[in-house]
């Protein structure tokens, strides 16, 4: 029962965020300033998700800029791979491989 309420509620708030703007905003005449601001949605949202996952990988452990941060090393590997190959598939495979290699090396140290 609790699960039904939880899933129903999650569905409502998620759809309630996704659908209304998708269906309605195009029909409004938005000022050009707003359209210009919307260009920055993809980089801003992605960076806001990525940064804490890479720089704050452990809960309550604070900023981790050291080489002992496997998430940071894997993330850097992914940035370089995407920058130079422009291939998302290779980037995902290489980034995860670098992350696991770093994790393994750190566990040895």
């Amino acid at each position: 029962m609790n699960e039904v309420v939880m899933i129903g509620g999650m569905m409502l708030v998620t759809f309630g965020m996704r659908y209304p703007t998708l269906a309605l905003v195009g029909k409004l005449n938005l000022p050009p300033q707003v359209l210009r601001a919307l260009k920055f949605v993809p980089p801003a949202v992605l960076a806001a998700i990525i940064a804490p996952a890479v720089f704050l990988p452990q809960e309550d452990a604070g900023l981790q800029l050291a080489l002992s941060n496997a998430h940071l090393l894997g993330g850097l590997a992914a940035v370089l791979m995407m920058r130079y190959t422009k291939n998302l598939l290779l980037t995902i495979v290489f980034g995860m491989a670098a992350f696991w290699l770093a994790q393994w090396l750190i566990s040895l140290a």
């Binding site: 699960e3 999650m10 993809p42 992605l46 992914a78 998302l88 598939l89």
Partner: protein
């Protein structure tokens, strides 16, 4: 062109857009597979039932929110807190909808309701990139549909497999760091977007704000606040005179 020939031309255009949407989404599927697998395993080891876990993937269909919800269930959080957190985590989707909307304004509700339901981070980035490209195709929504349906089927099949992995092996995939695959995918999505200084400024501002606010704001509120700071920073940088800085990123184009 005769009416019949015109019709078959349109059909092939639709199919082309649909298949192109699927094809361009394949790399994102590779990143979503491990994430969906560990979601399935994580969710049932946190005490959500098999039906509930499948319900989350098929009815809510929002990867990071599902993950956070199962973590909160494991910690014994109240249903109200879980729904509130989902709302905050998924508030970014309102921005996605606003960004894509003017390309879809000619569509009926029959299209808009399912496309809205299927709007994920991955499909958003793929579709926004396609919509930015020049050339007016009246069938761009078929591209959206192709991308979305592939993400949806994959997400649900992999959740189901993940549930079975979780039943046998418990939560070991999370311990191995499989959840990082989603972040690596997002990095691959972000890098090609940083085509000029305002876009880079936007990402840097959002990223640093997210780090600064992460442990300050509760219930994932930091995410949407940091996104707005990034959008504002990009907008301001865009209003300043441009220069040829950052040729390194320029080449990414």
């Amino acid at each position: 062109m005769t009416a019949v020939a015109q019709q078959s031309f349109n059909v092939s255009k639709r199919r082309d857009e649909f298949l192109a949407g699927m094809r361009d989404t394949i790399p994102f599927i590779v990143g979503a597979i491990p994430f969906a697998l560990i979601f399935g395993a994580f969710s049932i080891t946190n005490g959500i039932s098999v039906t509930g876990t499948m319900g989350l993937s098929s009815i809510v269909f929002a990867g990071s929110a599902q993950f956070i919800a199962s973590e909160l269930v494991g910690r014994g959080a109240s249903t109200a807190v879980i729904i509130l957190t989902t709302f905050i985590v998924n508030a970014r989707h309102a921005l996605y909808g606003a960004t894509l909307s003017h390309h879809l304004k000619h569509l009926s509700q029959l299209w808009l309701v399912p496309l809205g339901f299927w709007l994920t981070d991955e499909t958003f980035v793929v579709v926004a990139t396609r919509f930015e490209r020049a050339g007016e195709s009246p069938y761009k929504h078929w591209y959206f549909f192709g991308s979305a349906i592939l993400m949806y089927i994959n997400w649900n099949v992999m959740t189901f497999i993940g549930i079975n992995i979780g039943r046998t092996f418990g939560d070991r995939l999370t311990a191995l760091g499989f959840d990082f695959a989603m972040i690596v995918t997002f990095i691959g999505m972000l890098v090609p977007l940083l085509k000029n200084r305002p876009l880079l400024m936007s990402a840097v501002a959002a990223g640093t704000s997210a780090i600064a606010l992460h442990d300050v704001l509760d219930n994932q509120l930091w995410l949407i606040v940091a996104a707005f700071i990034g959008i504002a920073a990009g907008y301001v940088a865009d209003s300043l005179p441009d220069d040829a800085l950052l040729g390194w990123l320029e080449e990414t184009r």
